[in-house]
Amino acid sequence: MTETGTMGLPYDLIIFYLFASIVVCASGMVIVARNPVHAVLFLVLTFFACAGLWILLEAEFLAITLVLVYVGAVMVLFLFVIMMLDINLAVMKEGFVRYLGIGTVIAVAMLGLMTAVLGPEHFGIDQVPAPARHGPDYSNTEALGRVLYTDYVYAFEIAAVILLVAIIAAILLGLRKPRNRKLQDAGTQAMVRKEDRLRIVKMDAEKGGHS
């Protein structure tokens, strides 16, 4: 699958390792970074490099959507919230030693679980064949659309309904009843005319000397 230039350099491998190392370093920094805002920014970098990897797999629609949705919208909201938090790092580090034991147990259990599920016997390079290369006319967007609206149309629509329900629920949770609040009605504000609130008084100019 590797295309080699005339100099014998496998360009896509070089690009792959570049992006892959960015993904690994940045996701490590997400955990290690002391400042939560820096951690979120490293997560953004991780997503970005992942998008680069997906483009190498000719999944340009998914890659650009990853940047558009996760980097452009979800992570901006994340940052929005985290920047407003007043985080005291000293308080957060309290009890680090106390919880170290149980924390280690959970971490090791998670590691074991992930190795079992994502190990090489399921996702190894010999298990998953390399994707076939397509010509320049191939459109990933079109291919995805065709599958999504034919074979997987029910799953797609069910997901859409679940998202709609989630939106309605979120709006309802955020909605506060107008207590004693003075609400502006933008419609009537826009309909207002000069005659409704302005009275022009005609007065004769006063005569006489300067006061």
């Binding site: 360009y11 820096h38 629609f61 650009i64 940047v67 901006v76 940052l79 967007t141």
Partner: protein, 354 residues
């Protein structure tokens, strides 16, 4: 024009280098004119707003003030860049770069005419949408890392506003996608062939208006410039910046204005096509005009609108901005996507009967 140069280069350079060099030359050939336009757009802005307000505007540097932008740039270059104490240093310096980067990178997929485009990718529209949504990071990073409450307030406002208007913008682009049947910008222009009335501004009129207004909001320009409301939060996210770091924010803002204007021309006003196409004698008389000139003229019209808005409208109140974006623009775009879907299905002439 590039083919002989590439032939000549590959004569004496090893293989990948000629291609990379050609791409670099093309990038420079796009970025330099864009930055030149940015410089003279600031001049045009000061002159035009000056005349609208019955002033003369800058007229001291060079003949009729024509060297003013160069004087401004030199002044900003010579200034010291101040780092505020307790600012997050690296992020503070990355902020302006992150703002300018996407603003210039988006130009990669813009077709200047049928042949002149740097990267003719099939998901061009998505790429543009993704990159314009990245611009807010520069503002967020700059506002947060400055360690200043005014800058911070401004970056909060900017991010909320950008996200809100991005949705309306995205829906407007979905309308264009449905109408043209392609995500490739060149194909979108091809779909509008055939003169003034065949362009997408007519069947997509609400989306056209909404896209441009959202573009004004996305670039944080008046009347949506709450991110830099001088009367409330001093200057906004760039209040702590000085010198060239400050100038980069303005480069990005004006480059984004030109980008939005160009995109509006490409998607709704037929890109490089002449407005007189298929109009007999008028078409023949203007046949010598290169396509790029039409695109530049259309872009200049929208840029003038940006300046005109700024001189005409008072700044929106924050809750009004949110209301306009969420309660008016998004419902209209959703309804119009359904209308456009119907028009495409029933092949309404003269746009969708191909």
């Amino acid at each position: 024009m590039m083919a002989p140069l590439q032939m000549w280069l590959s004569g004496w350079l090893p293989e990948p280098l000629p291609l990379i060099l050609i791409i670099l030359i093309k990038i420079v050939a796009i970025v330099l004119p864009v930055l030149g336009c940015v410089a003279y757009l600031t001049f045009a802005e000061r002159k035009i707003i000056g005349y609208i307000q019955m002033r003369i505007g800058p007229n001291r540097v060079g003949p009729r003030g024509w060297l003013q932008p160069i004087a401004d740039a030199l002044k900003l270059l010579a200034k010291e860049i101040i780092l505020p104490t307790r600012a997050s240093k690296i992020l503070y310096l990355i902020g302006p770069i992150v703002t300018l980067g996407p603003a210039l990178a988006a130009w990669a997929v813009i077709p200047f005419d049928d042949l002149r485009v740097l990267a003719d990718i099939n998901a061009g529209l998505l790429y543009i949408l993704a990159l314009t949504s990245l611009a807010v990071y520069g503002i967020l990073i700059a506002g947060w890392s400055s360690n200043s409450k005014y800058a911070f307030l401004s970056c909060m406002r900017a991010s909320a506003q950008t996200i809100s208007y991005e949705i309306a913008m995205g829906f407007a682009l979905v309308g264009v996608l449905v109408a043209a049947g392609s995500l490739n910008l060149r194909e979108i222009v091809h779909a509008q062939q055939g003169g003034f009335l065949n362009w997408f501004w007519l069947p997509l009129l609400p989306l056209f208006v909404i896209y441009f207004i959202s573009g004004v909001a996305e670039t944080n320009r008046a009347p949506f410039d709450v991110a830099e409301g001088e009367s409330e939060i001093v200057a906004g996210f760039h209040v702590e910046y000085s010198g060239m770091a400050f100038a980069l924010f303005f480069l990005a803002e004006y480059a984004n204005m030109i980008l939005i204007s160009t995109l509006t021309s490409i998607m709704f006003l037929g890109g490089w096509y002449s407005p007189f196409q298929g109009m007999g004698p008028l078409d023949e008389m203007t046949a010598w005009v290169p396509g790029m000139v039409w695109l530049i003229l259309k872009t200049a019209f929208f840029l003038f609108l940006f300046l005109w808005f700024r001189a005409t409208f008072p700044r929106y109140r924050y809750d009004q901005i949110m209301r306009l974006g969420w309660k008016i623009f998004i419902p209209i775009t959703i309804v119009w996507i359904l209308v456009i879907g119907g028009m495409v299905v029933f092949e309404i002439p003269p746009w969708f009967d191909a």
